[in-house]
Symmetry: C2
Subunit: 162 residues, 2 copies
């Protein structure tokens, strides 16, 4: 599995796939992908970037009636609960899931230069499992977040030109 987010993918397909997958999974499970929830997911999908709840709120407000925080928090709760989005704790913000449908313990690579967030998974099984087992700890959920510089921003820094 490879990191999705920094470059080299057809992003419009990425969006439509994710939406189609979300619709299918909701239909199968009897969840309701309401217009509000769908719209928030679309906004999150529009870029591989983490958006804060209040960023989303602003975008939603610009589209019509003013919205209140609970509206977007509720949509985010639905999306994260069912694996359509993830919260990036370090940024207090949210990204669409890049691997919808598959159960996974994601690893996020957060570029501090351009704010893009790539989602990948551990190549060699989940390392936490080993650490948790050793400690006798029953793991339920995990968040792995790394900050750094993405390939594109590194290239940009090396040929700074001006």
């Amino acid at each position: 599995m490879t990191a999705i987010g920094f470059s080299g993918h057809d992003h419009s397909a990425c969006i439509s796939d994710a939406l189609a997958s979300a619709e299918a999974r909701c239909r199968e499970n009897g969840w309701r992908l309401t217009p509000m929830r769908r719209r928030v997911l679309e906004l999150l999908l529009s870029e591989h970037r983490a958006l804060g709840a209040y960023d989303l709120l602003k975008l939603l407000s610009e589209e019509g009636q003013p919205r209140q925080p609970p509206v977007v928090y509720r949509a985010l709760a639905f999306l994260t609960e069912h694996g359509f989005a993830h919260k990036i704790e370090r940024l207090n913000s949210y990204v669409a899931c890049a691997h919808p449908g598959s159960a996974h313990s994601p690893i996020f690579l957060i570029c501090s230069a351009c704010d893009k967030v790539a989602e990948t998974t551990s190549p060699s099984g989940n390392p936490l499992e080993a650490a948790a087992r050793e400690a006798g700890f029953a793991m339920e959920a995990a968040a792995i977040e790394a900050s750094g510089t993405c390939p594109e921003c590194r290239a940009r820094q090396n040929e700074p030109a001006e």
Copy 2:
């Protein structure tokens, strides 16, 4: 390296070791472990539990003059910057570092039943490194946090008695 925090260690030694280590490292590096900073570290060390900034603020206030948020946030900034404490992003709170002195990318095991936090490290090198390298990502910092149930709380749940 084993997980420190859930049980089976001499906690008073744990506290005095950490304080001594912090003092030594500050002396070596010319950092100032002021009374305020030292006190916040002591409070964090008093249990292997994550404390919020406002919890600390309350404890400090009870000890004397009322304190304002920046006081504790500044102490926390100093402690985290120099590796004496870590922030637990999922909880918006802070723990004393259980492995002071050694450079490390910690893994936190957070018990959702008793709120204790154990700090351990990956047994087999850092898995993020591999994922990051594969993505061409230059990693600077990482946070690995797992939620679940600690051994003691699991035992308690299994023999619930009454």
